[in-house]
């Protein structure tokens, strides 16, 4: 599963890091870091992360 975050849109709210901590995290500078690919077993939590993003910046490329 491929994940993209529109970094022009991202405002580092950090809701994705709550929903899918294996894929998204907020670093010490308060900025988002994420894994661009994730195992299919994480689909539910990545879908949840995309759902709860306040600015809807997260896209799943194949699903």
């Amino acid at each position: 599963m491929q994940i993209t975050v529109d970094m022009k849109r991202c405002q580092d709210h950090g809701q994705c890091a709550i929903a899918a901590p294996d894929v998204f995290r907020i670093n010490d500078e308060g900025r988002l870091e994420y894994e661009p690919t994730a195992d299919e077993s994480l689909r539910d939590e990545v879908e949840e992360a995309a759902d709860v993003c306040p600015v809807q910046a997260i896209a799943l490329l194949d699903g």
Partner: protein, 421 residues
Amino acid sequence: MSEPGAHGAGVVVVGGSLAGLRAAEQLRAAGHDGPLRVVGEEPHLPYNRPPLSKEVLGDPGDSDLERLHGLVAFRRRASVADVDFVLGARVEGSDLEARKLRLADGTHLGYDGLVVATGLRPRRLDLPGPSLGRYVIRTLDDVITLRLRLAGATDPRVVVVGGGFIGTETACTLLKLGCDVTVVEPFGAPMERVLGADLALAVQRHLTAQGVRFLTGVGVSGFTGEAHVAGVTLSDGRELPADLVVEAVGSVCNTEWLEGNPGLDLTDGVLCDDRLRVVGASRTVAVGDIARFPNVLVDDVPRRVEHWSIPTDTAKRAAPTLVALLRGEEPDTTPFVPVPSFWSDQLDLRFQSFGSPGLADEVELAEGDLDRLADGVLALYHRTVAGERRHVGTVAVNLPPKRQRELRAAFLQPDLSKGTR
């Protein structure tokens, strides 16, 4: 269109915003693979409303509808590719016994299962004076109308009536756009019902220092001007000049289409049980801020929750409930304990809330200094329920996003919650 109540008519979701979209997605995820139709009154595919008063109002580009819709449109999962989005269609009436809906164009629509997701609309002020020049912010079209009005004005004087979150956010965005902004709030300090008096007053001081004017404890009694608004008359007799007015005075539930069905409780939204079943109707659930349901996170009183997270949370529970009802099975009885959350951006302040701070009877300043909000403040909200002091809400102002996980975790009850993480 299908015969009323005919088997195979599938599920109809009434309401085409976030709640309607999430309901459709979650119905597919819960195993409903039959026909699925989302009927929405707006002509646009579902889009995200919170940016309307912030990014969309403040966007420096043109006011092209497609461009602005593109900024806020929700992605649609592959699972809803075959969902029939019926847009620009208003459901005007219903016969839940016969499983039949009546649309504004006179046609009827039958269903096997129904999702109520019609949400809210802005309350309008019913006061003497001209109506031209008075705006609300709920839909994309509302904001485009306001943008076009602002584009033709130089440093306009704006009066925002209502100092809740939408009113205050709008005031901040308008200030950044160069408007002269006054917020009139009859109750108290901005957002006081949710934030409590001390934090709300601190926010008022903070925003005032940057140029937003607040008049609190005074209401609006009318508007001056001939065809177009030229000013606002306050309840104490003062007059404020205004080139335009934004009304942000709360909302009204879109339940008129359900009236006349015996057994429903429509006194404030739609009364549901803790599985989001609409009380008094069969094979019917409600999703989003129209659903009034109990949440044991606080107590057993059913309430509507107008927080952004609620459409998604309620859809995740209502969809499997409806699928079970359609199969003639008993819905899952695990308690539904969502943790409401919302955020708000106001100039250099970012608010993040978890739980229901608006239900508190006591506010505790846990971190920070109310005179230095931008440096970070944490407020904890408590409510005494049956003699027990409960932590029911948290508001963080400008705290690092890394802290959110821990702030939200305070509300998780692993023994109770399901699907609410």
